[in-house]
């Protein structure tokens, strides 16, 4: 099939960017979207031009590296699919596509379609864990966990940290990402001791990173390649509300002694 691509080209973080048009005369429907871009890049290199920078690694939909907007939707039109798993049979001959990076203040563009998602790591660092040192454990079966809770925790933990939720949100909110971790750990007995602290700190960090707020539009849930649900956001709100009322401030400043 034949496709016309409009791709956002931006040399670096402090450079202006613009859409550049590329014609793809010969796209195989069995190619993945990234393989289609590989073909374009090989062609650009042969012509002495710079290839399009885009992030990717595992190319099997789990590492969360890849992701950009295709026609205004993160990861493109197929639900539950990362762009590396999106195949060209989802498009039709003669289609024109607009490809641009995820946009949010907290995701600055590094080059072309590549953005910096370090803000996500910092949200996790603020409390997205269970504070157990290596070796501090009891037998794995010592604490039974209700199957349903384990499944719900797994549903939330399936988040790959790609940033599609932020990209799709009209407010560039990271609520779904943050809530997924709060819900995952909050649903398990191991996560109870730090539940309040986790909610307070992670939400505070989310704001610190300049993400927007949640208006419950549900776009994130619909576009999440892993189907993480917005009921996790309600859970986060609940945990946060409770923590805001009962949480005792730390005596030592956050960040250790």
């Amino acid at each position: 099939m034949k496709l016309t691509l409009n791709i956002w080209r931006q040399k670096g973080p402090n450079h202006p960017g613009r859409m550049v048009k590329y014609e793809m005369p010969n796209v195989d429907e069995h190619m993945s979207f990234l393989e289609m871009l590989d073909v374009l890049n090989e062609d650009l290199i042969h012509k002495g031009e710079e290839p399009v920078t885009f992030e990717h690694d595992c190319r099997e939909g789990i590492c969360g590296c890849c992701g950009f907007m295709i026609n205004g939707l993160p990861h493109g039109p197929q639900r539950g699919t990362t762009v590396c798993q999106l195949h060209m049979r989802q498009f039709h001959d003669g289609e024109e596509l607009w490809i641009e990076p995820f946009r949010a203040k907290a995701f600055p563009v590094l080059k072309d379609l590549m953005v910096d998602r370090g803000s996500f790591d910092r949200i996790i660092a603020a409390g997205g864990y269970v504070s157990v040192n290596t070796g501090c454990f009891v037998d794995g079966n010592a604490i039974p966990i209700e199957k349903q809770n384990a499944e719900m925790a797994m549903d939330a933990a399936a988040c790959i940290g790609c940033g599609a939720c932020v990209a799709s949100c009209p407010n560039a909110s990271a609520s779904l990402f943050t809530a997924a971790k709060i819900a995952h750990l909050g649903l398990l007995p191991q996560g109870q001791a730090e539940r309040d602290r986790r909610a307070v700190r992670m939400v505070a960090q989310m704001m610190e990173e300049s993400f927007g707020y949640c208006t419950n539009t549900g776009e994130c849930e619909a576009l999440c390649p892993k189907g993480v649900k917005i009921e996790n956001i309600a859970r986060m709100n609940r945990d946060y509300l409770k923590a805001a009322i009962t949480y005792r401030e730390e005596s030592a400043p956050a960040g250790g002694s």
Binding site: H30, M31, S32, M36, V39, E42, L44, H46, G48, E49, P51, E55, H56, D57, C58, R59, E60, G61, I62, C63, G64, C65, G80, L86, H87, L110, K111, D116, R117, G118, D121, I124, A125, G128, Y129, V130, V132, N133, T134, C136, F137, V138, D139, G140, N141, I143, P144, K147, A150, A153, M154, A157, A158, I160, H184, L188, Q190, G191, G255, G256
Partner: protein, 639 residues
Amino acid sequence: MAINLDAKIPSGPIEQKWNKAKFEYKLVNPANKRKYSVIVVGTGLAGGAAAAALGELGYNVKAFCFQDSPRRAHSIAAQGGINAAKNYQNDGDSVYRLFYDTVKGGDFRAREANVYRLAEISVNIIDQCVAQGVPFAREYGGVLANRSFGGAQVSRTFYARGQTGQQLLLGCYQALERQIDEGRVQMYARHEMLDVVVIDGRARGIVTRNLVTGAIDVHLADAVALATGGYGNVFYLSTNAKGSNATAIWRAYKKGAAFANPCFTQIHPTCIPVSGEYQSKLTLMSESLRNDGRIWVPKKQGDTRAAAQIPEDERDYYLERMYPSFGNLSPRDIASRAAKRVCDEGRGVGPGGLGVYLDFSDAIGRLGKKTIEERYGNLFEIYERITGEDPYSVPMRIYPAVHYTMGGLWVDYNLESTIPGLFVLGEANFSDHGANRLGASALMQGLADGYFVAPYTIGNYLAGIKPGGVDESHPECKFAREEAENRVKTLLSIKGKKTVDEFHRALGKIMWDKCGMGRNAAGLDEALPLIQALREEFWQNVTVPGSGGEVNQSLEKATRLADFLELGELMVRDARIREESCGGHFREEYQTQDGEALRDDDKFCHGAVWEYQGSEQAPVRHVEPLSFEHVHLTQRSYK
């Protein structure tokens, strides 16, 4: 040059070796730990776990990964599960049995003491991960669920749907982020290691390139741990992530770390077949699918009928036929070779005849679609997305693909390479899987090395040295940095006609054809000059656009490929000399009458350990003899 291949295996009965070692290791006083620094390269299960655990202990850790976040390491893609000798199923499992299975599954080319330790630690890993909040699958009673996996007759595999690697890695990543927050670990994401700095015979640091700014820097520490994964991407097409590379271990090899068993590569039997020239990577379908799927091809050659049109008696369920007791659950190397054999006979299915069916219709009939969906739903979705075919109604097509490399840097029992102070963890080392790795054992080894072995052994090393003592003005630092800078400059200045990917595909083709699933002397003899010629052409005719001072993905690929082009040659040399078949290394000249791997224990019951001799000379092959006191050398049989 003398190379010390003392494995430092503790004396005493195998059950007590690790305890004895732990007791004998020297300790660093808690107050002194913060004076020592450790560099950890790679943040997968092995590296992430090691960095977190060392941080928890109080050392100053610098962790490096080339991805944008430590959470992206390729451990994340492991689907099926992690083994542990918990015996929760009461089905006769034990540490000893896991040890036995692993040594036997590795075709007797691994060190018994290391494998025993791995089996012993496996039980702690599960407990540790549960404590971190890893959402393992559970039964209705709230206890952990298990499934069985290829090559084992007990159910000892723990799993989190089809995303076990992801969940274990996230547990480890969260532990790491906690240490980052506490200031014990400094994280350097988007940094690629380009070289190791060796000063006075000890590993003292690394040279890195910042993949955003292009800056090339030296980082120093008291010890360096490499957990940079395997080198399967030497084949271009593999199940590895696109970024997975051998640069860290290859540079260490060139600085004096011996490389063991480079030819031991694992070909995974259940991957989605290649669909076209543009193919950029291969996608694994978890081996767990073989629990319920039946593998078959038509009995007739060149049968082009659709699967459903082929009657039952014209199908050849060849694994069930050839290996009645293990059937579809035969170990990976055996299942892969069997698939190749039936395809070579002209009975393969799908485009190009390079595929076999993995059929769930029996299981769906027996268990219902809902159960199958619960067990494998996400895998079926992946398959459908990639191929456009619905595996609930049409059998999956699968074909073997390069998946894992058992070879790696040689390490002793303490995971220390032949360069003092350079530790190698996880897939990057050669230690535990011999010539073939069993399913669900890679996650186990990565976490064992990272959480439970390296923190002890690195501590023992540090206790014997004084912290600090060098700075970046040392001539070795300057030299290593300049060398790395010059390589980058050279690659950018060639401005030839062919792209990096074109060279990489060419290398992959040579490796797959001559040093892939089946190898023979003639093919390997041909491969060597082909690789050398390709390498020469690469350095004269590659084109790398852009500059070195910015994000430049072509340059990243080029620096990685430059090392693969050298590593490929060593793999071929190793495969050529090992005149036997064992595990993933199948020399066509050495097979039984039934076509099974034929080991030669008299000549090759050893690890082949290669020592670099400079670019002008061929490397020297040393051996580390292996003795099997507990698991007796037998012909592997899965019949």
